[in-house]
Symmetry: C2
Subunit: 234 residues, 2 copies
DNA sequence: GGGAAAGCAAGAGCACTGCTCTCTTATTTG
DNA sequence: CAAATAAGAGAGCAGTGCTCTTGCTTTCCC
């Protein structure tokens, strides 16, 4: 998309990438709180003030890492969607794809705990996510919606009944994020989306320690249940 | 429980409380990341090194605040349980109490976002919650279990069918945390517990921004659904 | 091509942090 | 009353984000 013109811009792109790589490495190792600009610069053999030519503040570096993390987990979800069974178009296939997406997201989170915490843990105080993060942030949700759309086209989607006082909200959600899907799916998928991350966060942030043992099984069971809730029945 | 013997011990208790109060105030205002021992000491008119006589490290202060936060949200849940309808013992009453507990927890979280983030956001790196936090941490879950127990005693609990590969885990969970409840409720309540916090976290951490508008309605709808999932039907 | 403009690295410096150490003073205990 | 103990005060260390000034190099434009 962007053609690199001179040697200077090429160098700039390379240094920027190197900074992000090193920052991601330190993030994965020690977490966002301990991510220090000075340490990144030191590791790269540059002085700390030089780093500010590339990222005007620590928050800007974090924002770049947040976008990368959203993209990474989004890509995981999309690849799970692509690789899933597209067999006879039966309801079971769609449930399987839904569960597969959830499982892939969970696996990514367990493999990249600090990056997951960066995007779904406590937001940094005084930090409001800029608009540039909203696109990548939606990719997982869009993958889930995609499963519903396929099921709907195959005629096996049984849309849940929308609560009476949520009909308007549901219509707005469907119009804006999942056009074409039947009423009731809007609020259902938003709720399922949030609850999916509740399951992952509790496991990742240690809330299941000394409580839940069979975590794989529990997660598979719960996400299958969520599939039912959004209208994908076996 | 502890009798304060001399003037010195009385002073120590007072200073410890003052430190915790001031720390809680700053936590509520600026968040855990920006909570600084020096600022707390400054505000209290003492020098920073003196504070280390009361809390050996910043993590120990945070641990104290974590326990307080768990107790606060646990107390909110328990008061919602106590104040809820105990009327005719019908299924609707139990659903109402379940939903009321969830709503009270959510209200507490919205009123104390930084304290909520402290206990349910990203764990501080290299920080493992000590055993002393596990007791207070369980109070919300115990309140939810309490509703199930009452419903069971009233004979209106319809336990969900446990997944085949989770029967053992379910029995273990029931035995350890909810003795007397029928099979199936163990995994169901753990899943519902995690999903409840997914709903709250998504709202609180801004994931619903520019997406969900009718948040009260969505939350009430979703938690009612969770009640059904654990065997409380209307 | 040569001069002006812009981009970049380096270093010093500010205000802040958690934490340690020593020294002095006040309190409790034997 | 004397010894032991606890508390406060201050200096200091290593680290942080960020700013500013000083040179140097690359790019742009006439």
């Amino acid at each position: 998309m962007t053609t690199i013109r001179g040697a200077r811009e090429r160098a700039r792109a390379e240094v920027t990438a190197a900074i992000k790589d090193e920052a991601r490495r330190r993030l994965a190792k020690e977490g966002a709180v301990k991510l220090s600009l000075r340490a990144v610069a030191r590791e790269l053999g540059m002085v700390s003030s030089a780093l500010y030519r590339y990222f005007p503040s620590r928050d800007d570096l974090l924002t770049a890492l947040i976008i990368d993390a959203f993209d990474a987990v989004g890509e995981a979800a999309e690849s799970a969607l692509a690789e899933g069974p597209s067999g006879d178009g039966g309801a079971a296939d769609h449930v399987a794809r839904w569960v597969a997406i959830c499982a892939r997201v969970r696996a990514w989170a367990l493999a990249h705990p600090h990056e997951y915490a960066l995007i779904h843990g406590s937001p940094v105080p005084d930090y409001t996510a800029p608009m540039s993060t909203t696109g990548p942030a939606a990719r997982v949700a869009l993958s889930l919606i995609s499963v519903l759309r396929d099921a709907h086209e195959d005629g096996v989607l049984i849309p849940p009944a929308p609560a009476a006082n949520l009909r308007e909200e549901d219509r707005r959600l469907v119009d804006e994020f999942a056009p074409g899907l039947p009423p009731g799916t809007g609020v259902a998928i938003v709720a399922a989306w949030a609850q999916l991350y509740g399951l992952i966060s509790f496991e990742l942030f240690g809330q299941f320690n000394r409580v839940v043992e069979a975590r794989d099984g529990l997660f598979a069971h719960a996400t299958t249940h969520l599939a039912h809730d959004v209208g994908l029945s076996t």
